[in-house]
Structure formats: C-alpha cells, structure tokens
C-alpha cells in the first residue's frame, strides 16, 4: 500500500494515519468486511439447517 507521506518518516505526520488513507482502499476493505459478515451468516445458516435436518424427520417444526 505504501507509506502515503514524503519522506518515509513519522516526523511531522498528524491527522489520519491508517493504511490506505486518501485512496479507495478503506472503502474496499469495508466492503470486503461486509461481504465477509454476510458470507459467514450464509455459511452458518447452511450448517445450522444441516444440523437440524435429521431432527425434522421425527419432529414437527413450529
């Protein structure tokens, strides 16, 4: 990602200091994080449905 200041020193640097500041990267990372959350829920739901499947055979779900 590269250090966004010239020269490569923290001397005199103030304000936003996170990686990718001033570029599209923070937004891209945020969107990837949202996708990860949604993906985890989808995978979790599939695993949960699978764990319930054998119990649906002899029990009535409300």
């Amino acid at each position: 990602m590269g250090f966004p200041f010239e020269p490569a020193t923290w001397e005199g640097v103030s304000g936003p200091i996170f990686m990718g500041y001033g570029s599209a990267l923070p937004g891209i990372f945020s969107v990837i994080s949202i996708v990860l959350c949604i993906g985890a829920l989808v995978i979790g739901q599939k695993a949960e449905a699978k764990s319930y499947s054998k119990y649906r055979k002899y029990g009535k779900s409300k």
Binding site: G15, I17, S30, E48, G59
Partner: protein
C-alpha cells in the same frame, strides 16, 4: 519589565497548552474506559443466560450471546453510526438547529469510506470520534444482549443474529437519534429526557424482544393446555445470579458513557453535562445508582425471596431511575427503585397470561421498568429544562408519554417485522425434536459439563 512580561505570557501559554492536552487526553481516556466496563455487561449476560438455560442448552445460549456481540459491533460500524447522525430530525434526514445531524453531516463523518473515513479510523487529530463510537457500539451490543436472554432455548442462531443486527444497528440507534441527540425531534419538540437510556435502550430492546417472542412462541412444555404456565428453571442459579451482579458492575460504564466530559470543543461547556447539555456529574451517578440498586433489591425481595428476582430487582432499580439519574434526589431514586422491584414479579406473571414465554424476564425488567421510569420522571421532573441553553423545551408527563409510545412502537414494530420475515423463511425457530433433544447436542461441538455436574472430590486426608 517587558521581557519579563513576555516570558510570563509564554509560560502561561505553555501551561494552557499542556492543560488543554491533558483535558483532551482525559476525555479520550474517559470514554475509552467505558468500553471495557461495558464489555463486563456482556460477560454478565453470558453467565446469566447460560445459567438460566437448562443444561442441555447451556452452550448454545452462550454461542448465541457471543455471536450477537461479534456481529452487532461491525453492523454499528458499517451503518449504525450513520443512522445516529443522520436521523435526529426524523425520517427526512434534514439538518437540525445544532448543525450536527442530517444526511449531509452523517455522510461527512460516519461512513467507513471516502472522505469520512478520516473519522472512522486512527487519526491523531481526532481524539474523540473513535472512543465515542466505541461507547455507542457497546450500547448497541447491550441492546442485543437484552433481547438475547428472552429468546433462549428455541431460537435459531443465525435468525437471532439477524434480529440482533437490526436491533443493534438500526432500531435502538433510531431511538437514540430521536431522543438522545440534541437535534432529536423527541427532545426539541416534546422535551423527552432519558439521560440513562431507560427508554431508548432498555425499553426499545425489550419491546423488540417482545415482537420476536410473539412470532417465536413459547418453549415446549412452558404452558399447559389450560393456559397455566410451568416453571422451566435454568440449570445453574448461582451462575445466573452472579451474572446479574456482573451486569450491574458493567452498567457503571454504561451510565458513565451517558455523561459528556467538559472542556473540549464538542463539550457542553467546561464541566460534566448530560448528553442534552444539562448539568450533572459523576457524584449524581454515585448517589443515585447505588440507592437504586438497594431499592430494587429490597422491592423484589418483598414479593419473591428469590435470588434471581432480587438481582433482577437491582437491575430494575437502575433502569427505572435511569432517565433521571442526572438529577434525582437519592431518596426519590430509592423509592422509585423499590417500586420497580415490587412491580417485577406481578408484571412477569401478567405477561405469561398472554402466552408469552420470556425466559429471563427481560421484557419486564427492561421494558416495563424502563417505561415506568420514563413516566415517573415526567411526573416528578415536570417543568425542568430538558435541554441546556435558552428557551429549552421542558420535561412533561405528556412528553415522556409520547417518547414511551414511540419507543414501544419502534421496538415492537421492528422486532415483530424482522422475526415475521425470518419465520416465513423458516429461520426463526428450531425444529421441535431438536428443542427436545437439547440444542447443545444438536449443533454445538462441545460439552458444557463433560464430567457431569457432580459433588466435589473428597478432600485430602489429614495426617
């Protein structure tokens, strides 16, 4: 002489600079400390819910609670913070009188992308947004934990997490925008005062839970055919009671986070204030919270003699006084809290008459007592300014009533709607056979008590 004066002026300027920096660092540290203190609330809820579950569901309840925390935090980062700053004036997303609300303002400071990313990540020139966001994120997670206990032992995990995201990211945040923010329409138009969030956190979360409970239905075996209720005791009362005490420890951080530190550009003047800019200090919390805890326990003890309800009474005492903890007289706080403690068991029994199975009494403790506290403040503090500054709206019973109705409708509506959609997709309730077998057996790859719950090993024989 002139040289000496110039030197003195330079020294004064240097002292002032150091003083300002110290104040800024104190303010940042103040909110930073509320975060671990509020995480203690979640440690308490974790213990409380696992203890209140039957042994066959203990770990499943824990998994649910842990996941609520894990998903609500990023949800609040991605959109909850934006909701708080965007919606204070209502659904129009317009800017309020203080100029710190509306879509344009929220776009500028609360999205984790674009220019506003500067306020949503490490920034050496911004020593408030990160810690203030952190405190609010923990308020959000607390709402999810409040709902979590009510629905244990029969809700699906992912369905519950989706409910938690809606509650923590949207429902309570909207209530906070309307009734906590200084541009909030409930504050500016109705004089709603809810310092410690009895309504906008506790009642919203509780009525959200009620909306979910209506669609979720009771646990198998809770009600008999004639409508009478059976007790389904949890497997570990000591863990539950201790969990409740831990929650109460954490609530000191929650209430600390409701106070605005003075002396900063974003402060209400040079001293502590409420989020409304009205006067208070930490001493007010010390007096009133402690008296409310005592009152709530005593009130609950009178009717129940049950440690579960006594510790719930302590929580009810805090919640019932939360709206006015900033300026109640401690004796009055005590009386209100005793009332909340007395109210607990009858209110919980009343709810059961409608076939609602609230496993831990969350709707009663947080909802009934939250609304009770809102209304009591409307009576006892009528005429007090609800906001700082000139021509402030005043607190009134009508204003507190309007606020309460809005909180109930917001919580109940979004909770019912979300759970209704989940139910349509088969994502709300576990199958009956799975519920009977126990959710730990069905979906948790670990055992709560692999060696059983046995008596302790014999002690070493004395020589």
């Amino acid at each position: 002489m002139e040289e000496q004066l110039a030197e003195l002026a330079a020294q004064v300027a240097a002292i002032e600079t150091k003083g300002n920096l110290t104040n800024t660092m104190f303010a940042e540290l103040y909110y930073y400390l509320t975060i671990p203190l509020m995480i203690i609330i979640h440690a308490g809820f974790l213990a409380y819910e696992m203890g209140a579950s039957r042994a066959k569901n203990a770990l499943s309840s824990g998994v649910k609670n842990i996941l609520a925390f894990a998903f609500v935090i990023p949800a609040f980062y991605f959109f909850g913070w934006w909701v708080y700053w965007g919606f204070p004036t209502g659904l129009t997303l317009s800017e309020g009188a203080n100029g710190i609300s509306g879509a344009a303002y929220a776009n500028a400071i609360a999205w984790p992308w674009g220019e506003s990313a500067a306020y949503m990540g490490p920034n050496t020139e911004d020593q408030i947004d990160g810690v203030f966001w952190g405190a609010f994120a923990l308020f959000a997670a607390t709402t999810a934990s409040i709902m979590s206990g009510a629905v244990i032992e029969r809700i699906q995990t992912v369905g519950f997490v989706i409910c938690a995201i809606v509650l923590g990211g949207f429902s309570w945040t909207l209530a906070a925008a309307w009734a906590w923010h200084s541009d909030g329409w409930l504050v500016t138009q109705w004089g709603v005062h809810d310092f410690g969030a009895a309504g906008l956190v506790h009642a919203v979360a509780a009525f959200f839970a009620l909306g979910v409970l209506i669609n979720l239905g009771p646990r198998l075996g809770k009600f008999n055919e004639d409508g009478t209720a059976n007790d389904l005791p949890g497997h570990n009362m000591p863990l539950t009671a201790t969990g409740l005490m831990i929650i109460i420890v954490g609530f000191w951080g929650f209430l600390m986070g409701c106070v605005v530190v003075g002396g900063e550009a974003w402060s209400w003047g040079g001293n502590y204030a409420t989020i409304y800019g009205t006067p208070t200090n930490l001493g007010a919390l010390a007096f009133n919270v402690l008296m409310a805890i005592g009152g709530g326990i005593i009130g609950a003890w009178v009717f129940t003699k049950d440690p579960f309800w006594m510790m719930s009474g302590a929580l009810a005492g805090i919640i019932s006084t939360a709206s006015g903890l900033d300026f109640y007289w401690p004796g009055l706080a005590f009386i209100i809290a005793v009332g909340a403690g007395l109210l607990l068991k009858p209110a919980a029994t009343f709810l059961e008459k409608f076939g609602i199975d609230d496993a831990v009494g969350a709707v009663t403790v947080h909802g009934t007592c939250g609304i009770y506290g809102m209304l009591v403040l409307g009576i006892t503090a009528a005429g007090y300014p609800a906001l700082g500054g000139e021509d402030a709206p005043t607190i009134s019973l009508m204003g507190q009533l309007v606020g309460s109705v809005v909180f109930i409708a917001l919580g109940l509506g979004t909770g019912y709607g979300t759970s209704f959609v989940l139910k349509m997709f088969g994502m709300l309730r576990v199958p009956a056979a799975a519920e009977l077998a126990g959710l730990d057996t069905v979906k948790v790859p670990a055992q709560a008590y692999p060696e059983g719950i046995s008596i302790s090993a014999p002690s070493a024989t004395k020589a």
